[in-house]
């Protein structure tokens, strides 16, 4: 039986249901010291004074630090963030001081004894406010910040990045359009709400080596940034990532690691642990980006898209972090998966006094898709066309070009087939708005998706394969297990290559940057494709080594041998062969002579032929692959109070090749649930002073079991020619089209356009009232 396309059980399943799998915060030892943070009570304010004298006298306290002690600036793309605020605070919840103490309780109590005085500054509560001519500058010294070339900050403003797309001739495009729609959209910043809050432990060894354990999706990025921020040789930094309790992008980049290293340094290199409280995880650490957007789209009488003019104003919050690259990714994919010959897009990353943003599942695409998918429905209404048909008509396919003028090759998925299948599953032809006998409204909405990884052009992956005495295999790859099941997927890929059972493939769960082969990061839905390619390459390397040793014993050419099912044998004479276990650690002749030595399979992959984009036009080839899909939502709404129940959420995705159906379905249905939760009921609420009101899980309500719809998931398999067994990424994509689909269904249900998230019953009721 093959190992691809089967729902192999997760390698760590038994440990997870027994509560035995250890997450970072489950490791404790008596030599640990504990960190705690004092955070800002102002969203924008000058720090007048910080009094740490009482805190220093508290029992168990080893060190108290403020921004003045730490003259550093962090930022993965743009170095704008001090580890502890210096001179001013820029968001509510920003760390202003830190304590290290013998116990968590002592650290927490000492934090309470720190007294900070602020002078209030004008608070900027939205991108629009931030872009006003009269707006105060959140970063006065932006021109001093280092940044990578791909990011274009505009000093003297609140714009941390502007990415431009200029394709075709936008003026002509609108002149040729018979119908033009124009709309504005928005949603507030929100949070990932991974159930495990972020944590990190750091220590500095006697020879200066730094060891960091972290809840990180990107241990190699942390290692590299530690070097860049602190002038430490990356080789002297070891970052260890254990299994992670949910990431969704929020644990990529640098999180607590830099600060906890500085805390350790302040206490002579002793081991210090820093764990976010839930409230800190929501607002002090970065969350999901907010957006204000304007879309203007033109089409011919027949509904052919002619022009798209898009302005994205992302709410980065107080610091740039990943947000500058999210705004760039949104520009690269700005039109959604539709053929548009003339495109103008400015995608801005704008500083505000909100909690700052980092990567979030969908990375620019869930955000742009909300804008595009709503606009498509508004356009369909104006054209008096079925909205699904409008999507079908304009669905992007092989031979078309993307907004960056990159040609879609034969690896492009079949979006039309996805739309067709999703329409079938949701029962689109049976009507998208029906009033039931008891006066409720059943409505459906459509939304398509596409996503390409937003990553450096030299993104890579590596794999090492070794063997055990029983012939079983150890697979070692630097992609982090964050719940997506990647380690099991890798085991399946290796098992398939060797023709052995998945049970005979062991995986190394933790990633250690000093031991594991280099891997860019567990982000961008590229783990399966790139890590998978590296594993295939390692398998091939191991197989050639096995053949080399076996050819000497069997006295035949290497190329006549085949490795399969635990044996290496002559292809045409299968009975002539050896067991892999007798070769993989060196073959021993009956007289005791040994040859060959152990087999160590080495594999690698680096992204192919990627480029940056032109700063004035966006022209370039930044996308490794595009995953395409179509989604739909059906809901039942009570028009008396606008309460509603989501009945079904459907998705058909062109995944290239299904490696593990149960886990693929889990990713896609889980993504849909996350997006429904986001679009329906999540989002930070701010008061006029920029305080986040709903910063705990009692007031910030995520989807619970009773709210979950029925999920309909299906696949199209157009092979990704360069993917492992034809597979492409699917981890994030399930979220992308859902906010648009939900808003479309609600807009159809009530005949009122809903262009602002979250879509709570209260917000629907108010909008309907205002529209009357």
């Amino acid at each position: 039986m093959g190992s691809i396309g089967i729902s192999a059980v997760r390698k760590e399943a038994k440990d997870k249901v027994a509560g035995r799998l250890k997450y970072l915060n489950d490791y404790n030892s008596p030599d640990l010291l504990y960190g705690a943070l004092k955070t800002s009570t102002f969203a924008h304010g000058r720090i007048k004074s910080i009094d740490i004298s009482e805190a220093l006298k508290m029992p168990g306290v080893r060190a108290v630090l403020t921004g003045k002690d730490l003259p550093y600036r962090f930022g993965i793309y743009l170095g704008d963030k001090p580890p502890l605020a210096i001179e001013k605070v820029r968001y509510y919840g920003e760390p202003v001081a830190a304590v290290v103490a013998d116990s968590q309780r002592e650290a927490d109590e000492a934090v309470e004894a720190i007294k900070v005085e602020y002078e209030a500054l004008e608070v900027i509560n939205s991108p629009t406010e931030a872009l006003a001519d009269s707006a105060v500058l959140i970063h006065e010294n932006m021109d001093e910040y280092p940044h990578i070339d791909a990011i274009r900050p505009e000093p003297g403003s609140n714009i941390a990045n502007r990415t431009k797309i200029r394709k075709g001739n936008i003026k002509e495009g609108f002149e040729k359009s018979h119908v033009i729609v124009e709309e504005t959209f928005s949603f507030p910043p929100s949070d990932h709400v991974a159930m495990e809050t972020r944590a990190a432990v750091a220590e500095i060894l006697g020879d200066g080596r730094i060891v960091i354990h972290s809840t990180t999706q990107a241990p190699f990025v942390v290692k590299n940034l530690m070097g860049a921020y602190f002038g430490v040789d990356p080789g002297k930094v070891t970052v260890i990532a254990h299994a992670i309790g949910g990431g969704y992008g929020g644990k990529a980049g640098m999180q607590l690691e830099g600060l906890v290293y500085l805390l350790s340094k302040a206490v002579g290199g002793k081991k210090v642990k820093l764990v976010n409280t839930r409230e800190q995880d929501m607002i002090t650490s970065p969350g999901h980006i907010g957006l204000e957007a304007k879309a203007r789209i033109g089409a011919s009488k027949e509904g052919e898209l002619m022009a798209a003019e898009l302005l994205f104003m992302f709410d980065s919050g107080a610091y740039a972090d990943y947000a500058v690259n999210i705004s760039r990714a949104a520009a690269i994919g700005c039109t959604g998966p539709y053929r548009v010959p003339n495109v103008w897009c400015d995608s801005l990353c704008v500083y505000t006094n909100h909690p700052f943003a980092t990567a979030y599942r969908g990375f620019g695409h869930i955000e742009l898709a909300f804008v595009i998918e709503r606009t498509m429905d508004i356009l369909a209404d104006k054209l008096n066309m079925d909205s699904m048909e409008l999507r079908m008509k304009n669905a992007i396919c092989k031979g078309d070009t993307t907004p960056t003028q990159s040609l879609l090759d034969s690896n492009t998925g079949d979006l039309k087939a996805c739309i067709k299948r999703t329409a079938e599953m949701i029962g689109w032809q049976e009507g998208s708005r029906v009033v039931t006998e008891d006066g409720k409204i059943r409505a459906k909405g459509f939304g398509c998706l596409w996503k390409a990884p937003a990553m450096p052009t030299n993104t890579d992956a590596g794999a090492i394969i070794t063997f055990n005495e029983d012939g079983s295999i150890n697979v070692h790859c630097g992609v982090v297990e964050i719940g997506q099941g990647i380690k099991t997927g890798f085991a399946q890929i290796a098992a398939e290559k060797f023709g052995i059972d998945v049970e005979q493939v062991h995986v190394i769960m933790d990633v250690n940057t000093s031991i594991s082969p280099h891997d860019w990061a567990t982000a961008a839905s590229r783990g399966l494709m790139m890590g998978g390619r590296a594993i295939l390459s390692a398998c091939e390397d191991a197989i050639s080594q096995i053949k080399h040793t076996a050819s000497q014993v069997l006295r035949c050419p290497e190329e006549d041998l085949h490795v399969w099912g635990g044996r290496v044998f002559i292809k045409e004479e299968e009975h002539i062969g050896l067991l892999v276990k007798d070769v993989a650690l060196g073959y021993v002749y009956p007289d005791g002579n040994a040859i060959g030595g152990q087999v160590i399979g080495r594999g690698k992959y680096i992204s192919r032929r990627l480029t940056g984009i032109d700063p004035d036009t966006g022209k370039g080839n930044p996308a490794l692959e595009w995953t395409l899909g179509a989604q739909a939502v059906e809901l039942e709404l009570d028009p008396t109070d606008c309460s509603y129940r989501i009945i079904k959420a459907a998705c058909t995705m062109d995944v290239g090749k299904l490696i593990n159906p149960a886990m693929a379905r889990g990713q896609i249905a889980g993504g849909m649930a996350m997006a429904l939760s986001f679009a329906r009921q999540e989002g930070f609420e701010f008061n006029d002073r920029g305080h986040v009101i709903n910063r705990d899980l009692r007031s910030y309500k995520t989807l619970r079991i009773g709210d979950a719809p029925e999920y309909l998931v299906d696949y199209v398999e157009t092979p990704q020619g360069d993917g492992p067994y034809g597979a492409r990424g699917l981890g994030e994509q399930g979220v992308i089209g859902i906010p648009g689909a939900l808003a479309n269904a609600l807009s159809r249900a009530l005949g009122v356009p809903f262009n602002h998230l979250p879509l709570t019953p209260e917000s629907l009721w108010k909008k309907r009232r205002d529209n009357r």
Partner: protein, 158 residues
Amino acid sequence: MKSYKDYTQLILKINGQIRKVIVSPNDTLLHVLREKLGLTGAKPGCENGDCGACTVLMDGKPVKSCIILAVEAEGHEITTIEGLKDTPIQRAFVEESAFQCGYCTPGFIMNCHAMLNTIPDADYDTIKEWLSSNICRCTGYEEIKKAVKKAQKIAGGL
């Protein structure tokens, strides 16, 4: 009513074993389980009683150990995920892929286990009511619902 002032010795009955532990009166049960007894299966998720990741059983009933004081647990039978061995709900969670990152899983399993012991034939409305106290952020809850149904079948000998 018994009063506790400073660090005090408690005798707790956990997973059928007697465990002696020195606690501060304001230590939560979650803290004592994890930091003093090494029972790290119960997870801190919010430490505010909102997410259910810390769920354990007290005399068979699910409680959120982050909002129970350790001193309140004295005299009660505490069961943590470490006290369950190959139960129908654990097997069903594996078979139905009812978790991804696994962080909420011990809390969900404890709550499901208590529910199935209390109401073996729990219908969907009951399941919804009981399990609404736990948050899973990875799955869409579909597999968890299936796992409960499967555990009911396993326990029923089907």
